[in-house]
């Protein structure tokens, strides 16, 4: 049965990969890598090595990692400016991402894009986009192309809950449902768009209900549970691949940091208590506890994982530091594709 609108619990499809210890530890590691990478981004920003706007993913790791774990290499992915986590989870190297944040030629966008515009077309990672809602039609267009070309890949787009009030979201969902496009709309509901709580910006508090207007399958998902995310995306992907049906997933998560490096963690718009309360559901701790309880993780394994990740992130920082700036001549390249 295709789940229709509303919060739906659906049996886990048999086609999901087994929850073997190696797979579980991989998910754990992918989340921890993002966390440690982002912490270093925060430090590097304070040191002036990263400039512009920099939006950290801390607290939301389970969404990117769970999603990517359910996708295939030929699927296409787009996201907003809060894109470091998705890029790493998709398999872009910490070196390529950090070098981009440092504006270096070896960065994944040649130093031209920066934090908000991470790209790696070879991995189907079609960007970080900085205009709220602007990339939702783009991902819908990618789904159009997949269907047009007769493929069975899916197009996946991440956006915040504040983007769903925007016309681009509604226009996209309508066309995706009307034309049956294999697009998975992943709303990362972290409860705030900058300093505005969802309830202060949206007449409807459950994002998932937006799908009703377009008769589109939808689910609410616990974004602090990496397996719940993976399974929901897997179900959506099957619908997309087999029946060209789009899906809206409202994935409930929380941002532990400020909106960007220049915004406060708490203040006029949310209390310190609220943030601390949410941190008790830290997706990394939640999953680590589960793995420990299941006997898949112990202190030794955890420490080894931490050490390995510290090396990897340290190496990325070193690489980004040493890497050369783009040549001045690149200022005028890539404006047009020649010939």
């Amino acid at each position: 049965m295709t789940p229709k609108t509303g919060t739906t619990t659906v049996a886990r499809p048999a086609t999901l990969p087994a929850d073997d210890p190696a797979t579980m530890r991989r998910l754990m590691r992918d989340m921890l890598l993002i966390r440690r990478f982002e912490e270093k981004c925060g430090e590097s920003y304070a040191l002036g090595k990263i400039g512009g706007f920099c939006h950290l993913y801390i607290g939301q790791e389970a969404v990117a990692v769970g999603t990517m774990a359910a996708l295939r290499p030929d699927d296409l992915i787009m996201t907003s400016y809060r894109d470091h986590g998705q890029a790493l989870a998709r398999g872009m190297t910490p070196r390529a991402v950090m070098a981009e944040l440092f504006g270096k030629a070896a960065g994944c966008s040649g130093g031209k894009g920066g934090s908000m515009h991470l790209f790696d077309a070879s991995l189907g990672f079609l960007g970080g986009h900085a205009i709220v809602g602007g990339h939702i039609p783009l991902a819908t267009g990618a789904a159009f192309a997949i269907k047009y070309q007769g493929g069975d890949a899916v197009s996946v787009v991440f956006f915040g809950e504040a983007a769903v009030n925007n016309g681009a979201f509604h226009e996209s969902l309508n066309m995706a449902a009307l034309w049956k496009l294999p697009c998975i709309y992943i709303c990362e509901n972290n409860r705030y768009g900058m300093g505005t709580a969802l309830e202060r910006a949206s007449a409807l508090y459950d994002v998932v209900q937006r799908a009703c207007s377009y008769d589109m399958p939808a689910e609410t998902v616990d974004g602090m549970d990496v397996l719940a995310v993976r399974d929901a995306v897997h179900r959506a992907a099957l619908r997309g691949r087999e029946r060209k049906t789009p899906t809206l997933l409202e994935i409930r998560t929380y941002r532990f940091m400020g909106h960007s490096m220049s915004d406060p963690i708490h203040g006029h718009y949310r209390t310190k208590d609220e943030v601390e309360q949410q941190k008790t559901r830290d997706p990394i701790h939640v999953f680590a506890e589960k793995l420990r309880a299941d006997g898949m993780l112990d202190d030794t394994a955890w420490q080894a994982m931490e050490a390995e990740i510290a090396d990897e992130v340290g190496d990325a920082l070193h690489f980004a530091d040493e890497a050369p700036d783009p040549d001045a001549s690149t200022l005028t390249t890539d404006v047009y594709r020649e010939p």
Binding site: G52, G103, P326, L331, T332
Partner: protein, 327 residues
Amino acid sequence: MPLLSYRDALNQALREEMRRDPAVFLMGEEVGVYQGAYKVSRGLLEEFGPERVVDTPITELGFAGIGVGAAMAGLRPVVEFMTWNFALLAIDQIVNSAAKMLYMSGGQVPIPIVFRGPGGAALQLAAQHSQSFEAWYANVPGLKVVMPSNPADAKGLLKSAIRDNNPVVFIEGEMMYNTKGEVPDGEHVVPLGVADVKREGTDVTIVAHAKMVGLALKAAEEMAKDGISAEVVDPRTIRPLDVATIVASVRKTNRCVIVEEGWPFAGIGAQVVDDIQREAFDWLDAPVLRVTSADVPMPYNKGLEKLAKPDVPKIREAVHRVLYRGG
């Protein structure tokens, strides 16, 4: 005279105009509870309440249109865009609704509205967040386009814009909010359409607006040491453009450099050159040169970004060229 930041000068103008006229209200993203993305509206929610300081969802097309509709029905909205990059989503309402309503209705329906927010590049914000759109809006009959370059002008021009009975595109400088200057208290109104000679000189006219005025003044100061006397003319209002003041200056100096932060093709400078060649052709001793951003989307890398933007050395170089000076 009190020393105020550009930000606080704008805040003062908003506050005074909202006190003066209950039809004036402010609407936009994060203008209320968050006190403004750039803190321009700090304290306004507390003074005027949520009916007059309205936080919106991230829905530029919608709230710009709601602003225009409210103006059609008798209010005087001030619509804040978090930055002008996001106003691209609303440009339909600005151009197709606000700019044309009076004309289409045969003069029945004026649209007294101000669309305001920061424009231009800041630091390393990359391609989608570092753009100058004044040339786009200035192309549209029915719109006025205002770009203050210092705190006193910011206050005086914003008060005029709010009192104007036409749609005004008011572009602030993201990098200027912290700059300080003397700002007259109370009723300080700078009329739209009047340029200001920011520095007098005899050898060359530099026409610059917004953030570029600061660069032009710095260049002029440096060049004074080399015996070059540069006059800096700030149009302040891009449309209507005070051609007379610019032409009078060029007729005096016989040379001109135009500086703008936007792209070169069909930019503001192109319009100014057109006016100068018609009105001051016989007075020119050199072709008019323009300093603009590079003709590329803005790169993120710091060094490339610096290459892309107008700066003091580029202005000096252009001035030297119109003076046929080496180095």
